[in-house]
Symmetry: D2
Subunit: 348 residues, 4 copies
């Protein structure tokens, strides 16, 4: 007898991440999209808010006010920062598991005022939240009731640096991360700075210092590698829609070479379906992983200056958001971790 489908709610269904969650779940044989929530678009159909999904079997599903959610097993939150912290606890108390794509459960309580601008309202739940980077914390995710889905920038940083820190191949302090992101990371809301006319031919840094992914990188690395690190982070916008590239700089320790770093990453991720470590001398490319749940990683050492460089590329809406959330969902629900998730990029 076939098991009944897992009933999943998507909150924030009208945004880019919400749409991507739905698109991926449509390929999931064991999930029922049981609720689509979005206050502003309530009353519209899925096809109305996401016309690219008009040809799918979910096209006619109604988007409903968040408070009408009922009869679900798992809630995926793709709402702006601050919303899930308020909405999740009552669900959790009723036994509904939660994956939160916002930053609400990624940091210690003390960090919220500085980095997110609010006092965390349910600090007790922070201790129970698991940081949902499966390749580093798979076992905890399996047991979690509340998963903090990682940010798009911290995901490749943590995956790329954690194994090197564990092996002592790079210094934990003085890490620099230079991030490049396409525009979909800024969300769907109209904004002059994100217009086509403002963005084509524009490369620019933003929000430095102070991007909220900075402490998340430090925390993820500490959780994964066991010791504190210090990270400075400058994000940039580039004229692309999808895609995040991070270039991480650290001081290599004596003896570290491109080959050694590459080998360590290779070993760390052997058998991982969604991490692709490139051979020494090969370069990552966001375009290759677009639409897939794959992270590409590359490592190198500049022997002249002793600088270790690790670059990572992913699709910010998939491995950097919706895809990783479903990877976490699969683990929490006991499904095959790769269900519904693609390893093939859409190219060109």
């Amino acid at each position: 007898m076939r098991a009944p489908a897992l009933r999943v709610a998507v909150l924030g269904a009208s945004g880019y991440s919400g749409g991507e969650i739905v698109r991926i779940l449509l390929e999931h044989p064991a999930v029922e999209i049981a609720f689509l929530g979005a206050n502003r678009s309530a009353g519209a159909t899925l096809a109305g808010v996401h016309p690219h999904l008009a040809g799918t079997r979910a096209a006619g599903l109604l988007v409903r006010p968040l408070e009408e959610m009922d009869g679900i097993d798992v809630a995926l939150f793709a709402l702006p920062h601050g919303a899930c912290a308020g909405l999740a606890p009552p669900l959790l108390e009723r036994g509904i598991r939660v994956v939160d794509l916002s930053g609400d459960f990624r940091l210690p309580a003390a960090a919220y005022p500085e980095w997110y601008g609010f006092e965390h309202p349910v600090a007790a739940w922070l201790d129970k939240a698991v940081y949902g980077l499966p390749e580093l914390f798979r076992d905890q995710v399996r047991e979690a009731v509340l998963v903090a889905n990682p940010g798009c920038y911290p995901t490749p940083v943590a995956l790329g640096l954690a194994p090197l820190l564990r092996e002592g191949l790079i210094q934990p302090d003085g890490i620099l991360v230079d991030g490049k992101s396409g525009l979909s990371g800024a969300g769907r809301k109209a904004d002059e700075g994100a217009m086509f006319a403002s963005t084509e031919e524009s490369v620019r840094p933003y929000r430095f210092p102070g991007h909220q992914h900075t402490p998340e990188m430090e925390r993820a690395l500490e959780l994964a590698a066991g010791a504190p690190t210090s990270v400075a982070f400058v994000p940039h916008l580039v004229p692309a829609v999808r895609g995040v590239l991070v270039t991480c700089y650290a001081r290599a320790t004596r003896g570290a070479t491109t080959e050694i770093l590459t080998d360590v990453l290779d070993s760390a991720y052997a058998g991982e379906p969604f991490v692709r470590v490139l051979p020494a001398g090969t370069m990552v490319d966001t375009k290759r992983v677009r639409g897939s749940n794959v992270v590409e990683l590359q490592a190198g050492v500049d022997p002249r200056t002793g600088t270790a460089v690790v670059a990572g590329a992913l699709d910010n809406l998939v491995k950097g958001a919706a895809g990783q959330a479903i990877q976490n969902l699969n683990l929490m629900a006991g499904f095959d971790e790769t269900t519904a998730l693609s390893t093939a990029g859409i190219y060109p």
Copy 2:
């Protein structure tokens, strides 16, 4: 007992269409990718020629010289014009079915010298070739041994105009088609005119008069609607990678209105999984169908001038090439027509 998988060869595996065929076939439960052929890349792996497929189970398949092909049931040809006409007949004689993505089997023999610049070498096979536009010629495709997969421009033109011609709502002569295409249609080969620096911010017509899709449009319309038409066609390049938009202009006959045209298209494609007729007043968008096998159609009448306008949008590498080829393959093999084909666009 499960049926043995259909053994499929992909010829021209190193090009964009070839890569897209492989990407889609990887989702096909009843197909085995039995041979990847490409003379220039012979010896490389699939991941070597298409790094975006490095994470898939086909990554290690070797690309081999065309003449080594053996042990297959169906051959999908994604080679330049002129190649399939030479290579297909011996296969067909051995009972191997063929889907050709080039123009080699789309026109009557007499048209080849003018439009393709060569005398057709196997005119007898032209009569047996079926024009593979399933929504118009599904029954013939089911029985075909040789399918001429339609061009990216003629597909939306034929789908958009055939029902209106059949109903006598537009005049068959004086049809004008203005086409807009992204750069992937020009193929993967390096060329100064297709460089990023030459293309961003560039909108330009090309190959007018004389684009080889012109007689294909006329022929597809005649086959579908039963009477000769006259089409002038101007294609344009726009700074996009995927996507073809056609805007078709015809003289509306007395009484034709936007609503009537829309209704006729709606009825013609009711139940079709891959044709989406937009409500009157709504506009098609190539971005919405990217990565999917869907064609969006929209019809309107300018009552002031009596001009009927039908616009159609598709992903030239999917419904305009690889996806449609697999749709044809599904029909020829008796599979569900939609197997492995997506109706969800990748957006944004």
Copy 3:
């Protein structure tokens, strides 16, 4: 003794066209930018509203409320439709000459309710307005006190078709214009449909039927060629910032060939600094004219169907707006017509 500079006001200084007017006027030796008006940005400096002009001598000019305008000789209006019709008459009565970049003075009074949605408030001034397409109406512009600066789409249509109509080489009825525009034509205001994430990889028609440039095309052609025409027009958005391409289709009259059409255009624009007629068989390209005041034109005939095709390309913010306005200003003021205007595109 050097003449005192012409004191020019730019109204709507904070928009794209306003910024482009200022950028060009900075190269003008006989013009003083005497007033920058924009209600919403009033109080900011030019560099504040247009940071790309921060290094220029006008960087510190204050943007002021429109009603503070005083002490000027000529006013260039780059405000939304409807504004100039209200603001210009009192200025004109005080002897201030006006160039209006909006549509307020381009059509007969009777056309405004249908095409612009308002009753024209000062129909008497419409008769005195000159349609400012210098290559067709140069003598009238020289004498004008009120110039209606043409729309970006009608400019290449009128330039491309008027000589052919005059020579009887194309039929005046049944003209079709397929327009392709970059996003800057939609203005600077934030809008979801014009976001980078909505626009990259998107090609789509818009506003059909009913774009307000349709009657302007008909009127410009009638003024220039002396007989009524009938035009249907479908505009499209393509993922570019600057650039308008129009592809015009008409029935060729007996005997018309690509060479004849090209010769007629060549003769019509011999000596014109801002019109470049391409040799037969060469294709126009918006990228080549970017940043310049040049229109590229190309003509061809499809002998199979008797279709004449004329394509025209320009930079919508220069020859399609600000550059043409300054070309008109030069004529009105008795300056060399080319002053401050570039014939060199910015490429790549």
Copy 4:
């Protein structure tokens, strides 16, 4: 009496930098474009190799073989690395001054085998070459007979960091430079990796370690600030045509703050027409300086980690190549340094 025009040769006239030199020189009242040299395009007109310049007075100039150059005062070399080192010395000996846009005269002789792959053929001339960054070495440029025009990446790095090094506000070792470049930097030659279809939506590092601009950065900083530095550099390609952004990371010394760094840069470049230091907290943008000879600089300190960050943006074909070459030419010839050079970006 007006002085006779300076007769200038442009070698490598058919490339992007060559075209940009010509475009700018067309605005120069004291320069005659006396020779256009390019071996591969020899025999074509300027308009033939650069159709965007077809409307200019230089359109008909013939491109000629390099060896036919004669009767010139100054030669601007925009040829690939290695060419100028061979061709310049005989010219210099005849008293012709040279500005070289390649890397042939930027480094000490000993560095060429490692970074450029050749033994420098005329090491004696290296000592006489002046590094042509006018804002740092203006006096030497005025006296130079041979100017090494800086690379596009080193220009903003040197301008951004030299004043801070001089003031001891950052540590000279452990400097990291993360570069982002559009595709025009890769030149005009067709290449699969630079195709539109390969580049849109692609962000990727390249040539690390070992980019030849690395030692140039170190040398420029040492020349300007008087002490050795150590720089690691990772360049990236982003989907833009023009534009280089560098993000430079260094350890701030005790007491350095965003305000202090900004003040130091402000003072260093007060009065410089082509350097724009942004107020603290404002972000540079390549799009704002496109088409202009301006560098935008921004400085900040992350107090949490003690990281100083300096970002710089320029148009790689103007301030990063052709514009800077003409700025040098102006200085060498005693013209006003800003002649023909724009401070206004083309936006949007």
